[in-house]
Structures are given as C-alpha cells and as structure tokens.
Amino acid sequence: MSLNIDSIAGAFYGYVPFGDIVFYFTEFSLIGFIIALFFTLVVYLTKPEKQLESQIGDFGDKLNYVSLEELKIRRLMAIICGICTAFAMLTGDLFDYALFLAVIGIANMGIVSAVKKEGVLSAAFYYGIIAMISTLPLFGASALILAKTGTLSILELAKNSHDLLFQKIIYAVGMVGETGIAPFYAAKAEMFRAPGAPYILMIHLSSLLIIVRTVEIMLNIH
C-alpha cells in the first residue's frame, strides 16, 4: 500500500518509517518539533532560578533554590518530557501518539516529584489521578477508531471519510485529562509554584504543543 500524502494538511516534506509507524514532516509538525527540541536544549544548558519569598508582616525572607541532586532528576525528567513532546509532533499513528501522551504525563509528574513541598506534591498527586483515569478514554478511543476503520495510521485515516465524530470526542477528552486539563491548568497552577523555572516551564510547553498537535490530528482524520 502506498503512502498517502495528499490528504494531509500542509506541505509534506518527508517521512521516517519505523515499520507501520511512520513519522512524517509537514510545515506544522516541523515547527513544533524544532520548538520542543530547542526548548529541551535550553533546559539542558540553563541553571534553575532561585526564588526569594517575602514574608508578609514578618521579617526574614526565604530563599528557595534547587539542590544539585534534585536538579539532576528534574532536569532528566524535563529532557525526557521535551524529547517525547518533540517526537509526538511527528508521529503518524494514533496509538503511538496516545503512548507519547502517557510518557509526557508521567514525566510531568516526575518534574515536580522531587520538590519537598506539601502543596506542590498534593497537586501533582491529583494531576496523576486525572492522568490515570484519562487513559481509559484515550486508549479506548484509539481502540474504537481501530475497530471502526481498521487502521490507526493518520495518513490512511485522512484519505477517506469514516464518520469519526464521537470517537474523536473521546480521544480529545483523553488528551485533555492526560495533559492535566491544560487550558485551565487544573491542579497544575499549584505545581507551577515549585521553584526551578526552566523545568516547570517544560510542563507548560509540552501541554500547549500537545493540545495544538491534537487539534491538528483531529482535523486531519475524518
């Protein structure tokens, strides 16, 4: 079966085949890929911020900083998150994309898990619960799309009309939960209060890129 490149939105620049899972480059996915990789490089090279917390009605400001062993695990998680976000921009397979979302979700929790702050950790715990329950609609929708169309490749799904509206709704709900209800940043606002700027911002960037990419996939398959 030949690779269907005509129905995909945007100019098609090339593909990298891994068996049935084909990574493809369009204008959109290439830009997302470069942004995510560039930010991963920034995370790798920069030192984390130091926060000075002023105490209202009291003397003695508090300095929050990221210690070395904490820095190592958080930087590693941020880099895993960045690389997965970058390749999630390229993947041409619905199930593979869902798995990338699962890795990004757990890496997001890893970024804040080393912070010894009660508010941050409990927010990460509730975010983890949302991510766990949203695997059901995410992988369930992939399975429903496979059952209804017989294929998982985005390039093939873009070719013909399959009437996938309701399956796409479940898939989008799964994405919304997996990225932590990202438009509203539910429970993530508390996670952002953790010190260590570039690592925390990786959570933000991955959610934004994933939402835009999911919208692009949902518009491409029909």
Partner: protein
C-alpha cells in the same frame, strides 16, 4: 448562588479529579448510546478469545510460519517498509522452545515475553509502541526510586 464561591470551589486541587471524573462519566454515558459499526477488514486481525488456546502452545501469539524457512503471513499497513516481514514472529529461543513443549499455556506465561516469543506486531511492525510502553514503566520506576532513596532528605 455566588459565582465567586464556585470559582473558589473548583480551584482546589482535590476537587478537580472529581469534576473530571463526573465529566468523563457524562461523556461516556452519552457515547455508550451512539451507534457504531465494526469494519471487517482489520489491520491487525485477532482471534476470538480462547480461539487459539489448545490448538497451539504459543496461544495468543501463534501467527504461523517456520523459523528461518517460511515467514508467517502477517498483515501490515506499509509492507514496503518491512523487508523481513513475518520472520520475527517465528523465532523462539532454545529455553522457550523447551518450555513451549512442556505447557500449553506458554504464550500467556511471563517467560514468553522477554527473550521468549518475539512477536511480530509488538517488536517489528509496531516496535515504537513497545519502546514507549517500556519507557513509561522505566520513568515511573525512576521517579519512585528517587523519592524512596531521598525520603529522609530535608530542605
């Protein structure tokens, strides 16, 4: 009802999973009644549950073929990207070959997975999926072990 109270209620992190679960229940309850169809010509055809059992010792993973002689008949999306299609599934290590002669449930045992049956779909046509599945497990173990080893650390 004061809208400020609602905002304050949903701003608590412990409320968000409840709201999301309720929202999910609503969506799935609606979707349950949506008529859908099953497409017969599936990309990865699967036997009925218990369909292979007792016919083959490699139960869910028996895709046919003879090792190094005859490749199994595998259906894939892009055969042009898979030059050795069907040959991987027919491979068994000596240990797993010996085990598969002893038990009819070999395919469902844990030894069938690492170094036992190399399943075509898992390791070749959809290999990237398997990498990501293992990565999820690996990352979660990394997080857990870091938290466990540093549990006595104080700020």
């Amino acid at each position: 009802m004061n809208i400020g109270k609602i905002w304050n209620y949903i701003s608590k992190p412990e409320v968000v999973p409840r709201l999301f679960a309720a929202f999910l229940c609503l969506i799935l309850a609606i979707e349950f009644f949506v008529p859908t169809t099953y497409y017969g010509d599936q990309l990865y055809p699967k036997d009925t549950p218990q369909g292979q059992i007792f016919k083959s010792n490699l139960a869910p993973y028996d895709r046919g073929g003879i090792p190094l002689i005859k490749p199994a008949d595998i259906k894939t999306q892009y055969p042009q990207f898979e030059p050795i299609k069907g040959k991987i599934t027919a491979y068994l290590t000596p240990l797993s070959l010996w085990l598969s002669e002893k038990t009819p449930y070999f395919g469902t045992t844990i030894v069938s997975t690492p170094g036992g049956i190399l399943d075509e779909i898992l390791y070749y046509t959809r290999g990237m999926d398997t990498i990501l599945e293992s990565l999820t497990l690996l990352v979660s173990f990394m997080i857990f072990s870091w938290i466990y080893l540093n549990r006595d650390r104080v700020e």
